[in-house]
């Protein structure tokens, strides 16, 4: 045998030995899969056929436009949903009618919780300009206190007294005086 043939044989033998070693080792190294303790995830079933409708805009139920919510401040005050509370002569106590008006006003203010209002106190022309300032103030404050007692936040209610400066009815009659002794409500923001 030539040395070249011997080398080739040796090499071939080494190669075969190595190959045999590799094939024998593989099952030893591979870990045994553990016995399944939970169910294997199922294959997802094919989804049923899905309906794909074209989206159609659905209009809300038709409602009448709310004239109060949509009105401007000036329009609101011109035809105010807040009713004045009237007072007896030289009095700042709310009578039953005044309380009723304020209860209704409180309902409006609850319905429109963003509104802020000014409560104006007014007097009839009898008596002095000076004392009537104080009397008008008492009337406005009485109206505010009543609204607060009905759950309206005090910081929505500003008070101002105009005394006898702005009669609602300028006539010099008892009927006019009765209209002029009032707490008047002005919506100042909404």
């Amino acid at each position: 045998m030539t040395s070249a043939r011997r080398l080739a044989l040796v090499l071939a033998a080494v190669f075969m030995t190595a190959a045999a070693a590799c094939s024998k080792k593989a099952p030893v190294v591979q870990p045994t899969p553990p016995a399944p303790t939970v169910a294997a995830p199922e294959e997802p079933r094919p989804a049923p056929a899905e309906a794909v409708p074209e989206p159609v805009v659905a209009l809300p139920p038709v409602v009448r436009e709310d004239p109060i919510a949509s009105a401007s401040l000036d329009d609101l005050n011109r035809n105010s949903p807040l009713k004045p509370a009237f007072f007896d002569y030289d009095s700042s106590e709310l009578n039953a009618e005044g309380q009723k008006a304020l209860t209704e006003n409180a309902g409006v203010l609850k319905r429109f919780p963003t509104w802020a209002i000014t409560i104006e106190g007014h007097c009839d022309e009898r008596g002095t300009a000076e004392y009537n300032l104080a009397l008008g103030e008492r009337r406005a404050v009485a109206a505010r206190a009543y609204l607060v007692s009905l759950g309206i936040a005090a910081d929505r209610l500003r008070v101002v007294s105009y005394g006898k400066e702005f009669p609602f009815d300028p006539a010099h009659t008892e009927a006019a005086f009765a209209k002029n002794r009032r707490a008047h409500f002005v919506i100042t923001s909404k």
Partner: protein, 458 residues
């Protein structure tokens, strides 16, 4: 009373000197025309038997032919006559008799004999001519009997009216030891402009503050609020007016410095402050506010610059309408603590007893304390029918000045205490009137629109 003062020449001169230097001539912008020193010893004109001296005031003598000099001469005679007549310290020769007497052309040819025939005790003779300042006026008060000049002065100025007012005050001072009011001014609020308030839908009319001379001349608006600017009150130095303004929505006290055109806010940050009243020294103001008495007005005191606000009344009732005593030690005000508004007096520091002074009134408000030498409080009496009454603080006697001629309210004294300005509806709308403290001599001051809430400068 002034009339009780000794009428010596010395007293009169002293009074004149004090008046000239004191607050009687306050307006820096409107200094009275410069008057020069008397050229002769001042003496007083008297009547026989101590009766009211009878004066004649013939038309002023014109030097030169300019038409505006003639107009000035006419104004000088008329306004001086009105000013002197206002105080009722002199009697006057009826003017329709003047025509029969030759007119003087200078101080040298005054027909004294003819004036004596009309029983004149004194003659006011003046000359007027054009000058650099406008007009130059020379004035003499002659004793019609001795033909000597009892008073002699010269004046330079632009306004014949103002010169006449100055002459009147000087004659009252020198002849009657009386502080006249011819240079004083009124303030009041008015709706005459017919402007509408913004921010309301009710077409409410604005009210603005006006000033005028004491006789109603020169009515001038001094506020531009386009709102309610009401209840104006002169500062003691006559330079500023405090008033109640709704320009911030609620009511607050503002001060207008009317000759500077500047505005100050006295009560800031708190609404519902009304009816400022200056202390006699001008350092503080008293006002009413409901800021912390649960809707009831209380009285507060504040420094002129808005600092140091302090509450004066602590009573669960309405306390409003403050007025200071002349010395500044007491404040009179209105309270409804007994059920109806009545007038009370307390110490200006708020300490001590609060004494009710109106007895037998069903309704009393808007007290105004008179200046010295009187010690009186004028007020509005009644609710349905308002009338002006005055209570003497020494005797507590009450006298009534108006008797149902319309609604009469808001009385305020002239600085010499002899007159009262007030609001009345006797001619229809609300107008300002003046009346003597005796109840005589009613005079209408305003005629346009509604005019209310007068105050009289010091």
């Amino acid at each position: 009373m002034y009339r009780m003062c000794a009428m010596t020449t010395t007293t009169a001169l002293l009074a004149g000197a004090v008046l000239g230097a004191g607050p009687g001539n306050p307006q820096a912008q409107q200094q009275p025309p410069g008057s020069q020193q008397p050229t002769e010893i001042t003496t007083t004109i008297t009547s026989e038997a101590g009766a009211t001296p009878r004066l004649a005031i013939p038309d002023f003598v014109t030097i030169g032919t300019e038409p505006d000099v003639a107009a000035a001469a006419k104004t000088l005679g008329q306004v001086l006559w009105d000013d002197l007549n206002f105080e009722r310290e002199f009697a006057f020769i009826p003017r329709d008799t003047y025509a029969s007497i030759p007119r003087a052309t200078s101080f040298a040819d005054v027909p004294f004999d003819r004036w004596r025939e009309l029983n004149a005790d004194g003659l006011v003779i003046g000359t007027v001519q054009k000058s650099a300042a406008g007009i130059h006026v020379e004035l003499r008060l002659f004793n019609a009997r001795t033909r000597q000049s009892a008073y002699s002065r010269q004046y330079d100025g632009a306004s014949a009216r103002r010169i006449a007012h100055t002459i009147s005050d000087e004659l009252h001072t020198s002849q009657r030891a009386l502080k006249g009011v011819a240079l004083t001014k009124l303030t009041f609020d008015s709706d005459r402009d017919g402007e509408k308030m913004t921010g309301t839908v009710e077409k409410r009319e604005t009210k603005e503050v006006y000033v005028s001379d004491y006789d109603g001349d020169g009515q001038t608006r001094v506020t531009l609020g386009k709102t309610l600017n009401v209840f104006p009150r002169w500062s003691p130095n006559g330079q500023s007016i405090a008033y109640t303004s709704y320009r911030r929505g609620g009511a607050n006290i503002f001060i207008s410095n009317i000759y500077k055109g500047t505005l100050e806010e006295l009560t800031t940050g708190k609404d519902e402050s009304w009816l400022a009243a200056w202390s006699p020294d001008g350092a503080r103001l008293c006002f009413a506010s409901s800021r912390d008495n649960n809707g009831n007005s209380s009285l507060y005191i504040v420094n002129r610059d808005g600092t140091g606000i302090r509450r004066l009344t602590n009573h669960p009732s309405i306390n409003i309408s403050p007025t200071w005593s002349p010395s500044g030690t007491q404040i009179a005000f209105t309270s409804d603590r007994t059920g109806a508004p009545q007038i009370y007096v307390m110490s200006a520091d708020g300490v001590g007893q609060q004494t009710r002074i109106t007895i037998g009134e069903s309704y009393a408000d808007k007290p105004t304390w008179s200046p010295a030498p009187y010690n009186e409080i004028a007020y509005t009496s009644g609710a349905g029918v308002n009338d002006i009454k005055v209570i003497d603080m020494a005797t507590r006697e009450v006298r009534q000045l108006t008797f149902g001629e319309g609604k009469n309210e808001s009385p305020v004294f002239s600085p010499n205490g002899r007159h009262i300005a007030f609001t009345s509806t006797r001619t229809g709308k609300k107008q300002i009137f003046t009346i003597a403290r005796t109840g005589k001599d009613v005079k209408q001051i305003t005629r346009t629109g509604n005019n209310e809430h007068p105050d009289w400068s010091r």
